[in-house]
């Protein structure tokens, strides 16, 4: 990796950051209190993002995106990470996986998603299949020329605003030396398709207003034209496109940690107890030192992993390390920031309790910390036959 960001990269980060400070921060308290993003605010954020040319900036120019590299996109995500996810959701970054669209899927899904006309959501997880995605029971069987889908997906983020869904479904089973293995296919499913319904999910303490929903399939009939990628090729599309999105979690964790850190720094520098600034106590000042060290380390891990992707180098392990370290760093930083604030840190007059709650999910979604450790260790040990 070449060190230091170019002027463009600095400017991209600075622009997104000031956008978040000016267009997102002012609405955060409302979203926290109500658990909802008012339609007009969502529309306004989307409109401004489109005007700025940042909507779908992760997509290539050939389909109307901005053609940002992985490193630039990580910078965008990092700065967005400072703000409420319920709101930054409308600074749209459709799933990269839509690049797998073919034929008329391009005009029906990819292009409208890039233009901000239709929003997407991605559904893999089921009540019985989380980390072990392949154990999914939501399945499709052939009927005439069509597929008939039955089953349930849960924890589906952004499903309340989605116009269509990228859904991973079991389409059969094959025998392997390690036993039976499900074949998986990705489908594009429009909201309103008969036999498909979306209902309220659980209330998450993390990211209020960024809802997760439950999807039910009850004899939902889909033609072959709804298959994304190839039949039984679901894992290939997943592997081609989804690893890179994990950098998002790492980058957002870094951005949020920097915001939280500034609260801790300011408080430590102004709060007085025992006749002096609490920052004069090493118990406090050394926490500050550890926090910034970890934040900078996570930042560099994240950007280095993104840079590997830009250079076309294998990056799965590096991405997993960045996601693991950054999300766990954020947990420590938010906890430490509350500690430095004493009792006030827990009160919802301050945003710290929110950052602390929000931090919790980063170690769970997009692959739990344990799954990241699994990826990292297998990458190193597999080649040794261990």
């Amino acid at each position: 990796m070449q060190y230091g960001l170019t002027e463009e990269q600095e400017m991209i980060a600075a622009t997104v950051r000031s956008f978040v400070e000016r267009e997102i921060y002012p609405h955060e308290v409302l979203v926290e209190r109500t658990g909802e993003v008012p339609q007009e605010i969502a529309e306004e954020i989307k409109r401004k993002t489109i005007e700025l040319g940042f909507y779908a900036c992760n997509f290539p120019e050939s389909v109307g995106g901005a053609g940002l590299g992985h490193l630039e996109f990580a910078l965008v995500e990092r700065e967005l990470g400072r703000g409420s996810m319920a709101l930054t959701h409308f600074f749209g970054r459709p799933q990269n996986i839509l690049m797998a669209c073919e034929g008329d899927q391009v005009e029906r899904y990819l292009m409208p998603a890039v233009r901000g006309e239709r929003m997407d959501a991605l559904a893999m997880t089921e009540p019985g299949a989380g980390s072990d995605v392949r154990s999914m029971t939501c399945s499709a069987r052939r009927d005439g020329g069509d597929w008939v889908v039955n089953g349930t997906k849960h924890f589906i983020s952004g499903a309340d605003h989605a116009d269509f869904f990228i859904v991973f479904v079991a389409t059969g089973e094959e025998q392997t030396v390690k036993g039976p293995k499900k074949r998986i296919t990705a489908f594009l499913v429009d909201r309103g398709t008969p036999g498909f319904s979306v209902r309220d999910g659980y209330n998450s303490v993390s990211h209020r207003g960024y809802k997760n929903m439950i999807l039910d399939f009850d004899d939902c009939r889909l033609p072959d034209s709804q298959v994304l990628g190839t039949v039984d090729g679901g894992f290939e599309v997943m592997n081609t496109w989804l690893y890179a999105t994990r950098i998002t979690v790492a980058a957002m964790s870094v951005g949020r940690a920097r915001r939280v850190f500034n609260y801790a720094l300011d408080y430590a520098a102004t709060r007085e107890q025992f006749g002096q600034k609490i920052s004069k106590f090493q118990g406090v000042s050394f926490q500050i030192a550890d926090m910034i060290t970890e934040i900078d380390a996570a930042d560099l891990l994240t950007l280095a992993a993104a840079d590997r992707l830009d250079q076309g180098l294998p990056a799965n392990r590096e991405i997993a390390s960045a996601k693991l370290f950054a999300s766990e760093m954020l947990a420590r930083v938010t906890d430490g920031a509350i500690q430095i604030h004493g009792g006030m840190g827990l009160m919802d007059d301050y945003p710290l309790e929110r950052f602390w709650r929000d931090a919790r999910v980063e170690r769970i979604w997009d692959g739990t910390s344990e799954i990241q450790r699994h990826i990292i260790s297998r990458d190193l040990l597999r080649t040794l036959g261990a």
Binding site: E7, E8, E10, M11, I12, T15, S18, F19, E51, L52, G53, F54, C57, A66, L68
Partner: protein
């Protein structure tokens, strides 16, 4: 018509400034620097005039340290067409005084022949509020300061000024120098396509010596100090308590 917009690199308005231990000024090492907010408004106004078809070309100029190049790139990313960097200092702590800046700008104006100069009314670091006025004097041009509204009409401009007690509109002859106030407009963000294009826009680099201007400071800073700390306030629950507290403090 061509418009010239001087932009200054200053400490970011969000940064809590710290006075240097020796009192010689504000610590600028490793702090975030940005375009002077009033200059952003000036750039925005120039872009709006261009969008309205009144201006063909926007030239941004910055005078200071080499790093002011970043400030110029921001102006280019917002929509300026080209930029001129005049390197006049090596140390980030050296402020170029308004008279020296005005002299350099006067030379740039001679070369570029703009029909209009739009500048911020002041820089938020030293609050001098003098460059635009001095430039007008050096060039013998008209000036409209503290603009909260600007309209170009043929050979003259209507400048609405924020003055004590209300608004005043003056009619000035072109070419003219307009300095802008906070309420003139709300500057745009740089759009992503413009950020990507900014690098390709021309940025010419000059030095103060190229213009034969001596930038040696004429003012001596005696001391710089922090504003006095404000004592913490108290919350009161009732009017009676308020009155009691005020009496206690000897305020009533």
């Amino acid at each position: 018509m061509k418009v010239l917009v001087p932009v200054k690199r200053v400490i970011d308005y969000n940064v809590k400034v710290r006075v240097k231990a020796d009192g010689s000024g504000v610590d600028l090492a490793n702090v975030k620097m940005s375009m002077n907010p009033f200059d952003e408004i000036a750039v925005e106004e120039a872009i709006r005039l261009k969008e309205a078809g009144k201006v063909e070309e926007i030239v941004a100029v910055s005078i200071g340290v080499k790093q002011a190049q970043e400030t110029l790139r921001t102006a280019l990313a917002m929509g300026a067409d080209r930029a001129i960097l005049v390197v006049a200092a090596e140390d980030v702590h050296q402020d170029i005084e308004p008279l020296a800046v005005a002299k350099i700008l006067a030379k740039v104006v001679e070369e570029e022949q703009p029909g209009l100069v739009i500048a911020g009314k002041q820089a938020i670091d030293n609050d001098m509020n003098a460059t635009g006025q001095m430039l007008a004097a050096l060039l013998g041009w008209s000036q409209g300061t503290f603009a909260s509204k600007l309209a170009i009409e043929g050979d003259h401009a209507l400048v609405t000024r924020e003055v004590d007690g209300g608004l005043q509109t003056v009619k000035v002859k072109m070419p003219t120098i307009v300095t802008v106030d906070l309420r003139l407009n709300e500057p745009r963000y740089a759009s992503l396509p413009n950020i990507m294009k900014a690098k390709k826009k021309p940025l010419e680099e000059k030095t103060a010596a190229d213009y034969g201007v001596d930038v040696t400071p004429r003012l001596e800073i005696v001391t710089t100090s922090e504003p006095p700390q404000r004592a913490a306030g108290v919350k009161v629950g009732s009017v009676d308590e308020l009155v009691a507290k005020l009496k206690e403090a000897g305020a009533v």
